[in-house]
């Protein structure tokens, strides 16, 4: 058991290292560098950069050195816990990400809660009342939720919000709270802005979860232990919730591995459209601007999150399921 854990741990560290190399390679892969993208952006917005400046900038950021030198330089920083400077933001990467990490978590957790609160009851309902009008309706709405791109939904909802309710467009705070220090009023302001993004972010996932829940539960419903429970005279509600639902919930535990990185990155495009100050748009920007340290650090963070999450769900399964435990011993 311990050996298994140690082996997993060593593998996890190796995986994280591989992720760091891969992420750096991927970011260096497209031709050009931060300075090229900076020139492009300036030119696009009516500014300009001279050849001299471009050269000076390249030297200053160390972009004139070969890729592996840049990687080693970055790794040294990472091992010192500094992660380097975000080229575009002119601030340490840790600061730039740190500002947004909490906001991302708040939004994502809200989205996850909404997903579960919606998906579980609907999933249970449509399994228990299979092929009923309600099931068809839930399935239909679910598939629409899955089929409509969430960024599109976000834009339409924002436009309608403005058109019908004169609502604020995008962002997580009202104008006057943007710069204000944290206070109860600011938290309340945040809470008021939360439902729309959380709903939009959660909707696609909801449809998926409804289907998973429905399918899992349908598998369980016909099994003898359910029949037994029912035969013993338990109320229908209790029969369903106490036994088959618990079993059907198993896949939720094993997907924690994917949940963790999701909590950090959220849904990039939706955050971008809704103007949410989260990590997602930051990553997209960093990739477009070829801001390698920032992009590299975020990708690394996501990698670490996935590895840690998978490790956690492995542990969880190990604990839940004796078959896996036995396998680990061999």
């Amino acid at each position: 058991m311990l050996a298994y854990l140690v082996r997993r741990l060593i593998l996890a560290v190796l995986t994280i290292w591989a992720v760091s190399v891969l992420s750096f390679v991927i970011i260096k892969l497209p031709p050009g560098d931060y300075v090229t993208s900076y020139i492009a952006q300036m030119s696009m917005s009516g500014g300009y950069v001279s050849e001299q400046e471009a050269q000076t900038l390249r030297r200053e950021y160390g972009l004139d050195q070969p890729g592996y030198v840049q990687y080693v330089r970055w790794m040294k920083l990472v091992l010192h816990g500094r992660f380097g400077m975000a080229l575009e933001w002119k601030r340490p990467v840790v600061e730039v990400i740190g500002d947004r990490l909490w906001m991302t978590m708040v939004v994502s957790v809200a989205a996850i809660i909404i997903t579960w609160v919606l998906a579980l009851p609907i999933g249970i309902y449509s399994a228990v009342r299979q092929y009923s009008v309600g099931d068809y309706l839930a399935t239909f709405v679910g598939f629409i939720g899955l089929a409509v791109p969430s960024f599109m939904l976000a834009l339409v909802l924002m436009y309608l919000g403005f058109k019908l309710f004169n609502a604020n467009i995008g962002g997580l705070f009202s104008d006057r709270f943007l710069l204000a220090p944290w206070s109860l009023a600011k938290v309340w302001d945040l809470t008021k802005h939360m439902p729309l993004p959380a709903l939009i972010l959660g909707l696609a996932g909801t449809a998926q979860l409804i289907r998973i829940m429905r399918a899992n539960l349908l598998d369980e419903l016909g099994k003898p232990y359910v029949v037994t429970a029912r035969a013993r005279g338990l109320s229908e509600m209790r029969v369903i919730l106490k036994y088959p639902v618990r079993v059907a919930l198993n896949p939720f535990a094993s997907t924690i591995g994917y949940l963790l990185p999701y909590v950090v990155s959220g849904s990039i495009i939706v955050s971008l459209v809704l103007g949410l100050p989260t990590v997602g748009p930051l990553l997209l920007r960093a990739l477009i601007a070829q801001d390698m340290f920032l992009a590299g650090t975020i990708v690394l963070l996501l990698g670490v999150m996935t590895v840690v999450g998978t490790f956690l769900s492995d542990l969880l399964l190990l604990w839940i399921d004796p078959r896996i435990r036995l396998e680990g011993k061999q």
Binding site: P30, Q41, S43, M44, Y48, K90, Y159, G170, V273, A289
Partner: protein, 687 residues
């Protein structure tokens, strides 16, 4: 449209199309446009107007007033009275409409830490000289006056007596000397002399005459230097533009502040120690960070507003400079607005939607021309005006042919054949492009600048080789040896390797949809038997491909080229940093012939030689040379123009009706730092 219902299907669709951007929109617009009077676009273009400078001291105000927020500080003893803050010789401005009132925070959008131009165009009055609101006349700004002697070998700048930095320290000739000796001549900071401060490759120098007088000197006549100082160039751009993002130019710098980071004054070890302590690799990186006005809130500046919350945060806030050197004709110290607050909008659709919802007081950046119908629909409900400011450049989506292309000898040969380029140009239906993508507001034609600028080669250049003529275009192509066609009517290569295909390289995310325009041109070229392959690239990949000479034809604007000498890179291959006409040629030009590749085309060579000679010529002669260069460029069609003089770039202005002193039309040009020449310091909230 049915007004009774909450919203119609079309409105919903329109909202939805905001998501997918211009190209779907382009399909909707002609229909939406047809319901309104056809000349609506023209109605939104007002009369060019702007503030005036009062240069006669007899007409200057005798008494000065200040903003309430500063008066309060004076009362508390935290600030000297306004008479001691404004220079004895202030810049006196007569606002375009009326004397304004103080106060208020202007709300705008910016797209992130790379969007510096969003702020420094608003504070560009820290330039030495400027262009007035017509864009044709040089006027004083930070400098009180200038002297350009007949021999053209120097330019003397007279500063304002008693002028101060935003921290209250005196602004003098010493700030120029410091910049020249300790920044410009320091090899760590400026490794090679900048072309803007050279003439024919020979560097200029700077000399202090007395505390308020400095002279720029050159070994050869350099009459153009006056325009360079007034233009948006690295010598004249001002501190806010040229000492940020690692830049080192700008002609002056706050010596008393910057000295504390400079090794000459504190020793190299101490300078590096300070840098390390602040988390920088070395003193060079640190000093460049310290003189960056967007990042360092302590930096002394001359601008109307200074950074209060840095640009690398979600809200970039600029706050009034209590020592600003401008006053209005009633003696009120400018600016009127207390603050400018820019909120981060990472997605352009969101910025446009917020502008439509009235969440910005003034936005002329990132507001797209394709959204005009939606802007119009909501303007009365929300209470803003829409102004269109057409630019002066000839063509917003321009097909730049690579004159140094060598990837495919056959294609290279045709790209370097004048009649081939002329035929391509005549095969484009510019009116259709104009209706579809420019809402009919643009001016179809060649790349020549507007006739209203003195560089213009005359009205006939607009139409030359630039009107649809399928017959003549086909005849030209037949004549040069491209007469064989395949079964589908496309012309065949002369080397027998099948159909002749020309690649149009476009970039995603431009102000106007280059790719969709390219697709339409592809349809037009079918009629003359030319197969175009439109390839869209992410914009930095676009630049990388241009830099490595891989493109055949690149679609980009030619903005800025209307003032050819100050911003030639979109018309001539002279600047290796951005060069759609072929980078090897630009490298050849910039290196004085030691690197790169000379152009084969004798006409292009002649244009480049004329361009090089122009710096030493006086203004009228320079105009004449520019006209000749334009005549060559238009006749040889190295760049194929489509539609221009439109508001596509920074010319769609959404302004709250609460704002005053807003010109109905402002000059929209690179060298005027739009809206810089309209003096944003005079904008105000009416109530």
């Amino acid at each position: 449209m049915d007004k009774r219902r909450g919203f119609t299907r079309r409105q919903l669709l329109r909202g939805a199309t905001l998501a997918t951007g211009g190209f779907i929109f382009a399909d909707l617009i002609p229909e939406a446009w047809a319901q309104t009077p056809p000349k609506l676009g023209a109605q939104l273009i007002g009369k060019l107007e702007g503030p005036e400078l009062i240069r006669d001291p007899a007409k200057w105000p005798k008494k000065f007033n200040e903003a309430p927020m500063l008066a309060e500080l004076v009362k508390q003893g935290k600030l000297p009275p306004v008479e001691q803050r404004v220079p004895q010789e202030p810049l006196v401005i007569k606002p375009v409409h009326e004397i304004g009132r103080y106060g208020g925070t202007l709300r705008r959008a910016f797209t992130g830490p790379g969007d510096s131009e969003n702020g420094n165009r608003w504070v560009s009055s820290d330039k030495l000289l400027f262009w007035d609101y017509t864009g044709n006349k040089v006027v004083p700004s930070v400098a009180k006056a200038w002297l350009l002697p007949p021999d053209g070998k120097s330019l003397t700048i007279y500063l304002r007596k008693g002028m101060k930095w935003s921290d209250g320290q005196s602004f003098t000739a010493n700030d120029f000397v410091f910049w020249y000796e300790d920044v410009f001549l320091n090899k760590d900071l400026v490794p090679t002399p900048h072309p803007d401060f050279t003439i024919n490759g020979k560097p200029g120098s700077l000399k202090k005459v007395d505390d308020t007088t400095v002279t720029f000197e050159f070994p050869e006549p350099n009459y153009l230097f006056l325009d360079i100082l007034a233009g948006s160039t690295s010598m004249g751009g001002g501190q806010a533009l040229w000492q940020m993002e690692g830049r080192t130019m700008g002609a002056y710098t706050p010596a008393h502040y910057v000295k504390q980071f400079h090794p000459k004054y504190i020793g190299k070890d101490e300078a590096d120690r300070k840098a390390k302590a602040a988390g920088f690799d070395n003193w060079v990186a640190y000093i460049k960070n310290r003189w960056d006005w967007r990042l360092n809130t302590e930096l002394p500046v001359l601008t109307p507003w200074k950074t209060a919350t840095p640009i690398n945060t979600p809200t970039w806030v600029l706050e009034r400079n209590p020592y600003f050197y401008e006053v209005d004709t009633a003696g009120n110290q400018l600016p009127y607005l207390d603050r400018i607050q820019l909120t981060l909008g990472e997605n352009l659709e969101v910025i446009n939607l917020r502008a439509i919802a009235g969440q910005y007081d003034l936005q002329e950046r990132h507001t797209a021309m394709t959204k005009i119908p939606v802007f119009l629909e909501n303007r009365d409900k929300v209470g803003y005006d829409l102004h269109l400011d057409p630019a002066l450049n000839g063509s917003d989506a321009t097909l730049h042919t690579n004159q140094a292309y060598d990837g495919d000898p056959e294609v290279a040969k045709w790209l370097q054949t004048t009649d081939f380029r002329r035929a391509l140009s005549m095969g484009i239906d510019r009116d259709q492009l104009n209706e579809t993508f420019w809402l009919g507001i643009g001016v179809p034609g060649s790349i020549a600048p507007s006739e209203s600028v003195p560089y213009s080669p005359g009205p006939e250049a607009r139409k030359k080789w630039a009107t649809l003529d399928v017959k003549q275009a086909s005849a030209l192509l037949d004549k040069i040896g491209l007469s064989k066609k395949d079964g589908e009517g496309y012309r065949l290569r002369s080397d027998g390797k099948g159909r002749l295909r020309i690649e149009l390289q476009t970039s995603a995310g431009a102000f106007i949809p280059h790719t969709q325009i390219g697709e339409m041109i592809k349809e037009h070229w079918k009629k003359i038997g030319i197969q175009a392959d439109v390839k869209e690239h992410e914009r930095s990949l676009f630049f990388t491909r241009v830099a490595s000479n891989q493109h055949q034809i690149a679609v980009w604007a030619n903005d800025g080229s209307e003032v050819l000498y100050l911003f030639p890179r979109h018309a001539l291959p002279v600047d290796p940093a951005e060069c759609n006409l072929g980078r090897p040629i630009a490298v050849w030009y910039a290196s004085g012939g030691t690197q790169g590749k000379a152009p084969k085309d004798p006409q292009l060579l002649r244009a480049l030689e004329m361009f090089r000679s122009a710096g030493g010529k006086k203004v009228q002669e320079r105009y004449k040379i520019a006209q000749e260069i334009w005549t060559i460029l238009v006749d040889q069609v190295y760049s194929i123009g489509t539609v221009g003089q439109s508001p596509a770039t920074m010319g769609v202005r959404v302004v709250s009706r609460k704002m005053g002193n807003i010109p109905t039309r402002e000059i929209n040009a690179q060298h005027c730092r739009t809206p810089g020449s309209s003096q944003p310091s005079t904008f105000y909230f009416k109530a």
